[in-house]
């Protein structure tokens, strides 16, 4: 017990040393503050916007491909449906954005992270088989065409 108390007391002293060192440092520059206030989008938001753009891009390009390669419009529709569902699912999962749970307590944050991971796993369990179906269908149409 005495040894444990000494160890903890040592940790407290080490913390005090760190704080003393940091208090002597400026750490925060005006530039750093300015960059933070610019409110740059987090990676997940950028990822979501890129997904939307990619979906629109695929709609156009795939339409052209279907025409050029004489692929069925059913395949086109299926592609659009699964891509839209995937993007919508991502947007829903990431809807619980960091701003929302940043000011919550740790337990809430941890629970949301666990929830997000579980949701991503579940969406993968659906999207991978869909992808397999799409590849097989595409392959069959290209072979037949």
């Amino acid at each position: 017990m005495k040894k444990q108390n000494n160890e903890l007391e040592e940790m407290r002293q080490q913390m005090a040393i760190l704080k003393e060192k940091l208090n002597a440092q400026e750490l925060v520059s005006d530039r750093l503050l300015r960059e933070s206030m610019l409110g740059k989008m987090s990676f997940m938001k950028k990822y979501t916007w890129v997904s939307y753009f990619l979906l629109a891009f695929v709609c156009v390009v795939y339409y052209w491909m279907c025409s050029a390669l004489h692929l069925s419009w059913w395949l086109y529709a299926f592609t659009l449906v699964i891509m839209t569902a995937d993007v919508a699912c991502d947007a829903y999962i990431n809807r619980f954005s960091r701003e929302q749970f940043m000011t919550g307590d740790l337990l809430e944050t941890s629970r949301r992270m666990v929830w997000m991971k579980q949701m991503r796993k579940r969406s993968l369990m659906v999207s991978l088989p869909m992808l397999a179906i799409w590849i097989a269908w595409m392959g069959a149409e290209l072979y037949a065409g």
Binding site: M15, V28, R31, M37, F101, D105, S110, M113
Partner: protein, 167 residues
């Protein structure tokens, strides 16, 4: 609050609590780059959260909450943005004076713990009451007491961190 007042409040808050923010980021990092990244992430989240901070909890508690949540949930692999370097002329990771070695030992000890336990012991080392710790973390005061006891036992029973094999 007008935008200019927001900026002044933000700047004042960050400067007043810079050591707290850095300490949390340091205890969740392995090197200087990670600390810089986390520090800037925390600042971004503080800025975004400032309008929503109604003052119903202590400012210090709020700062801890945002800092710890950021550090725990930040995915380092995904962060590609180049961070602004901190205005700091010490390096708590590599400096070799006696004080820095003490601080590095603290970092190694705390790094043995999982993120949640790391947060709890950090708050305890900052002399926060069990009730305050519970508010930040989201568990009851009794639960804080139980968890702290287990953390202290774990720290006591784990081998002393090896400075040579570190990094």
């Amino acid at each position: 609050m007008k935008p200019k007042q927001d900026e002044q409040t933000f700047a004042r808050l960050v400067r007043e609590h810079k050591s707290t923010i850095y300490t949390v980021c340091y205890m969740f990092s392995k090197n200087e780059d990670e600390v810089n990244d986390l520090f800037q992430e925390v600042l971004v989240n503080l800025w975004k959260g400032l309008p929503g901070f109604k003052g119903d909890s202590d400012v210090r508690t709020w700062i801890y909450r945002v800092s710890l949540n950021t550090c725990i949930s930040c995915d380092r692999k995904k962060r590609k943005r180049k961070s602004v370097p901190l205005s700091i002329d010490i390096n708590p990771f590599t400096d070799s004076d006696e004080d820095s070695r003490q601080v590095q030992q603290l970092n190694r000890r705390i790094s043995q713990l999982g993120p949640f336990d790391r947060a709890i012991i950090l708050l305890w080392l900052e002399n926060m009451s069990y009730e305050e710790i519970g508010q930040v973390v989201g568990i009851s005061t009794k639960n804080v007491s139980v968890r702290l006891y287990r953390i202290k036992e774990k720290l006591k029973n784990s081998p002393a961190p090896d400075p040579v094999s570190d990094r």
